[in-house]
């Protein structure tokens, strides 16, 4: 079974970058032999939403967003937050870092 990650991408206009970042993360994960489910929060609304099970099963979480993302659900997971453009350009590095277990544990505020 391949290793699992989850991610969320979002940008202010939600027309293009959200989906570019999602595609890049999916491509990079595939290359690394892993699977990532990416929730896209664009102007169409939230698509491919992450279930509780998805989050539980994931080794790490990548948040690539320049807009607000519902964060409390990731409490206790290894997580990294980056800008959406960073995820587009550095997807391979992000995936590698996630699989190497180099993310800090996220603690939800309040």
């Amino acid at each position: 079974m391949s290793r699992k990650l989850v991610g969320v991408t979002s940008c202010p206009t939600g027309i293009a970058h959200t989906y570019m970042a999602a595609e890049q993360l999916e491509k990079a994960a595939k290359k690394a032999g892993a699977k990532i489910k990416v929730e896209t929060a664009g102007s169409i609304g939230v698509e491919n939403g992450l279930s509780k099970k998805d989050i539980e099963e994931a080794e790490a979480v990548i948040i690539a967003a320049d807009a607000r993302v519902e964060m409390a659900r990731f409490d206790g997971k290894p997580l990294k937050e980056v800008s959406v453009s960073h995820a587009i350009k550095k997807s391979a590095e992000l995936i590698e870092e996630a699989l190497d277990g180099n993310f800090k544990i996220y603690k939800a505020k309040e």
Partner: protein, 156 residues
């Protein structure tokens, strides 16, 4: 809705010589105006520039996607411009030049069917072979063909 509802040969510009980012925005906005896509060119350009201020839409890989969701837009549309040579300095985040430029005009409010197509295009642009095909296209009708092929594909 199909991609050809958003773009046509009048909205495809090949081997254009652009001076800089502002020149790209000027020329492409004029093209939208000529096709009656926008109703207030200055207002539209302001909206495009406001988005660029939040961070350049020159995202590397030679791609720039200046876009605006604004009431200055009559109907959703897309311009594809291939800049001459290596491309134009679109103040890309990685300091590289941009040669594949998609300008996106979206009306505020209204229906969302066009967003699905733009979503597909955004994802497709991340693929090397798709960008290579766009760079090799020598006339507007071949660009349209590439975009139509993309539109027909099932989303993977």
């Amino acid at each position: 809705m199909n991609i050809t509802d958003l773009i046509n040969e009048q909205l495809i510009i090949l081997n254009e010589d652009f001076d800089n980012k502002n020149d790209v925005i000027d020329k492409l906005a004029k093209r939208f105006e000529a096709s009656d896509i926008i109703n207030d060119i200055e207002g539209f350009k302001d909206a495009i520039k406001a988005r660029e201020k939040e961070g350049s839409t020159g995202i590397g890989m030679g791609i720039a996607i200046p876009h605006a969701k604004s009431e200055t837009v009559n109907k959703p549309a897309l311009i594809f411009a291939k800049a001459k040579g290596e491309g134009v300095d679109f103040e890309a985040l990685d300091d590289t030049l941009s040669d594949l430029i998609f300008m996106i005009a979206v009306p505020s409010g209204g229906e969302n069917l066009h967003l699905k197509i733009l979503q597909k295009l955004s994802r497709k642009l991340m693929h090397d072979e798709f960008r290579a095909a766009l760079r090799e296209a020598s006339d507007p009708s071949s660009v349209l063909k590439i975009l139509e092929e993309m539109d027909k594909e099932e989303q993977s």
